[in-house]
Symmetry: C2
Subunit: 581 residues, 2 copies
């Protein structure tokens, strides 16, 4: 060992002891007679003192230490004259009696501090230096703890972690696979798993009735901000269970994580149907840290000559509590916001419920104060509130109002980073109609079970069939999703038929799983948590990248290791692969 203690460990109780520390030079201050060096490691920072009078040579050496030099120092723990109670080790310092430079360092390209001067790109290229910053360190510590707590909690419930293969088979359904060419069988490929879905269902067939795995998954999608080509899931499956059992088990896991990691008791997680989520929030992942539910006005606003409302399928609004003071300029900005092409509303109607009880709207030409009072009544608005109303085609308008609601939540400070609100969203639609090829697709996947009571609807109205599928939403982000699977052959055949393929085609697409289902598949269902996002949200951040040790950039590149990159021509030859130039 190069040290007797870490840099986060020494306290007044150690005063008088001779200790050896090793770490990185965070900064050094030369005060003439004394030189002070802040020595950093994973555990903290300890102040080292070099005395020019007592050890002039040592002190000279200390003065020459650059930032991020790796050093080993032996000395005596003494009480500090000016204590720093902000630091764990702030009551002591180590008066050095020997110093060894274990390694020099070039000057780092950005400061290794909580707040750094390095830009995103630079920090990605020097990720190994960025990882020294306390923010990223604390994120990785959080992630480590989350994984460990998850494993111990699920194991205590009898779940087994079972590793599934990474070199699997490409499936034509779903997102795009990353593929791995076979050297032995030219022209053939393995695929990297988008999730262990089929393997966990096979494990259910095998009788491993409580399975989980914290596992890497891969999707070769065009990347958006905050999407990674490789990401981590807490993947789970259970047999002999109904929906209620799964919700209860994984609500338990979530509670446990909040309790042990954040010290927060999240209580019972509320449940909401997909239909209600869309109706009241315009989103299948509502942020319920704040209320501001949608209020529909369609029936009461028509026939007063305002053609926008008269012709609208839906007139719907939100009430922003206490926002009546919004200026004309602010309201114009909100109008601009909803008219942005990404959102696409045609305009915004507002009604100010002034503090004096009067009402002022952008549609005063068409509606009397009496009308507006009626609206306010519907909204539950009181003087001081601001009502914001959109109109148009139902689904689109809801989505637009969702964006406006979230924006108002941001503007009014209602989306607090340290507040955590969970929500189960249940009963998703089973099928999605694709206009392009005029057929229905499974919204989740074709092994998802429809709700029992909706099975008869499969013969009459597919759009109304609900799946036994569920999402867990945290602060407006989906953190987990899953479903009860089909285990009944007849029902499975029916779903395949509805999706437009024969059993033979199904076997071709889902081959081995279909075969396995012939040998006694138990009733089962599962869920998968997006672990990167869960860590980010629990760390109070929106960026999953800050919770992954070595992430890729938005172009799917690791700029630190410069990957992807060209490979040796010999490797290509061995794989039998050619590229058209």
């Amino acid at each position: 060992m190069y040290r007797t203690h870490t840099c986060g460990e020494l306290r007044p109780a150690h005063i008088g002891q001779t200790v050896t520390l090793a770490g990185w030079v965070q900064r050094s201050r030369d005060l003439g007679g004394m030189t002070f060096v802040d020595l950093r490691d994973r555990y903290g920072i300890t102040q080292l003192a070099f005395n020019m009078e007592v050890h002039p040579e040592l002190c000279e050496q200390a003065r020459k230490l650059g930032r991020e030099f790796v050093i080993q120092v032996t000395g005596t723990v003494v009480e500090r004259t000016s204590k720093n109670y902000q630091m764990d080790t702030g009551e002591i310092e180590v008066v050095a009696s020997s110093l060894t430079i274990l390694n020099a360092s070039l000057t780092p390209p950005f400061t290794i501090e909580e707040q750094t001067d390095g830009g995103d790109e630079l920090r990605m290229k020097y990720r190994y230096l960025d990882l020294r910053r306390p923010t990223l360190k604390n994120n990785l510590i959080l992630r480590h703890k989350m994984a460990l707590e998850t494993r111990n909690y699920l194991s205590s419930l009898g779940f087994m972690e079972i590793e599934t293969p990474f070199l699997i088979k490409s499936t034509p359904e779903g997102a795009r696979d990353f593929v791995v060419p076979s050297r032995i069988h030219h022209g053939e490929f393995y695929a990297l798993p988008q999730s262990p879905q089929t393997f966990k269902q096979l494990l259910m067939v095998s009788g491993y009735d409580r399975y989980f795995q914290i596992v890497r998954c891969f999707r070769d999608e065009d990347l958006r901000a905050d999407r990674q080509p490789e990401f981590t899931q807490i993947d789970c499956e259970m047999s002999f269970v109904e929906r209620q059992d799964i919700l209860q088990t994984f609500e338990g896991l979530t509670k446990h994580l909040f309790k042990t990691i954040k010290g927060i008791d999240i209580g019972e997680v509320p449940r909401m149907s997909y239909d209600d989520a869309m109706k009241y929030y315009g989103s299948d992942k509502p942020d319920i840290r704040f209320d501001m539910k949608f209020v529909e006005l369609t029936d009461i606003v028509k026939g007063k000559g305002f053609s926008v409302f008269d012709t609208a399928e839906l007139v719907v609004g939100i009430c922003a509590k206490g926002a009546a003071g919004y200026t004309r300029k602010q309201l114009d900005e909100l109008t601009e916001f909803v008219k942005k092409p990404q959102i696409g509303a045609k305009g915004l109607v507002y009604v100010r419920y002034n503090a004096d009880g009067t009402l002022k709207s952008s549609v005063d030409k068409f509606y009397t104060e009496e009308h507006l009072k009626d609206w306010a009544h519907h909204f539950g608005a009181v003087p001081g509130d601001l009502m914001l109303i959109l109109a148009g085609e139902k689904d689109k308008t809801r989505k637009q109002l969702n964006e406006l609601r979230l924006e108002m939540g941001n503007q009014l400070g209602l989306r607090k980073k340290d507040e955590y609100k969970l929500l189960w969203v249940l009963d998703f639609p089973m099928f999605e109609y694709n206009e392009e090829d005029g057929r229905y697709y499974a919204m989740h996947h074709p092994f998802t079970s429809p709700k029992k009571e909706d099975i008869p609807l499969m013969d009459s109205n597919l759009a109304l069939v609900k799946a036994n599928a569920y999402d867990l939403v945290l602060n407006g982000s989906e953190i987990a999703g899953g479903s009860i699977r089909i285990h009944d052959k007849k029902l499975q055949a029916k779903v395949f038929e509805v999706l437009g393929f024969t059993r033979d085609e199904a076997v071709e697409k889902f081959g081995f799983l279909m075969n396995a289902f012939e040998y006694g598949a138990p009733p089962h269902g599962g869920i998968a948590f997006g672990f990167d996002r869960l860590c980010a949200l629990m760390g109070g951040s929106d960026s999953i990248r800050d919770f992954i040790a070595f992430p890729k950039n938005n172009a799917g590149r690791d700029t630190m290791i410069d990957s992807p990159s060209s490979i040796d021509p010999l490797q290509l030859k061995e794989l039998g692969i050619y590229f058209n130039k």
Copy 2:
């Protein structure tokens, strides 16, 4: 929930309770008035009783149940008249009052029993059925426990599990990489990691001084029996440590696993130098469950007219205790054994130390009984022992004798499956000379540190330089290996020079790691355990395949999912890849 209890749970204390069980039909026995069904799940087997008198319809239904049907049964727990104390649930049975067939099953292609009638190939194809067998189930439970114990133990020591990327960069050194073509950047590839070696060293540069990860690794090698293209490692690295710290920490982990998983106290793990391992066992992974050390006779056997010994660089043998009774036929078979092409010895000399004190050898023509007595003295042989001697070129002869020693260990029953002997092998050679291209290669990798005292030898005799590298050996199998890494730039430059490349070439080959080392790399070292093998050995098996849920066969194929396989032409087009037909 489809059940109130599992099939392994009911005991006499439950007698009189109404319970619901769900599981698979293991077997059913029709005894006329009664039908008995053994119901199986992950937790055990419970006997169900159907009474023809009381519930004739139910009993009829039960009689028709096929093997591996999935059923749900409600009934009353009663005391068995003929108890089976071999089974955890053998004192009770459940008298059924209702039966639901949850799923039928085709007749499985082999029996789902401890001993099955299915061949290897068939069981691989139907892996999901093979996984129902108790052997494989117990293996996966062991594996789950091992992983959990490892994580908890290392975490309790302050180790952080940090996930490293799977889509990385191909490196020309080492084994062959699996590569992943980039769709966005045609002609460029990611590579799957052979190990997280460079990333864990980067994490040390980042200050995460205690890292571990249970992680999948990939090697595109021509497969041998019991090698998998994807395998799992317990990968570990520490900073500010010397060899002793690493050995102690991971000896601790190993002890902990043996204690918690097997209930075995393995005590202090002995240490042996590589040179001694080769000298006394002819192997860098000696099986020390039995002694039978090599004894060198070179100096005392020459000059007696036996040209085989006279011209040999090394004459060396083993003493098989109590094996003097070996017949002529058995000795001939041993001779055949060492003459097999894989072993390649020219012949075998034996000396029987008969029970009556006389000695009989295959070289009586050249050596008197007095000579043989002298040999016996060297061997520490006593009447009843058998000495077996090989001669030839030093390294080859040692390897041959290693094979013979292991064979004798097997024949004499000295390699017990339930005995566990660990050994650290230390001080491996730093460099290996390659005859083909007349240069030295790093035996471990070029970041491995030479032993401090051997650094001067790097200017005089490379073959003598020892690396600060170590292996942990269990019952003759390497279960872990690692080294102290170089953190000193000058020493690193020296090693690169010796390996015949300039710093620029080194940067080209090991780019980002070399760059990272410019910014304050701490002294560090690590180790990696082969997790599949560790599980197999602790499970008392030689076959790692039985400890992997979904392994590949010796051709790198997963015959269950039929992978690798051809992919959609559209996928190839998107990747810009062509194959020459």
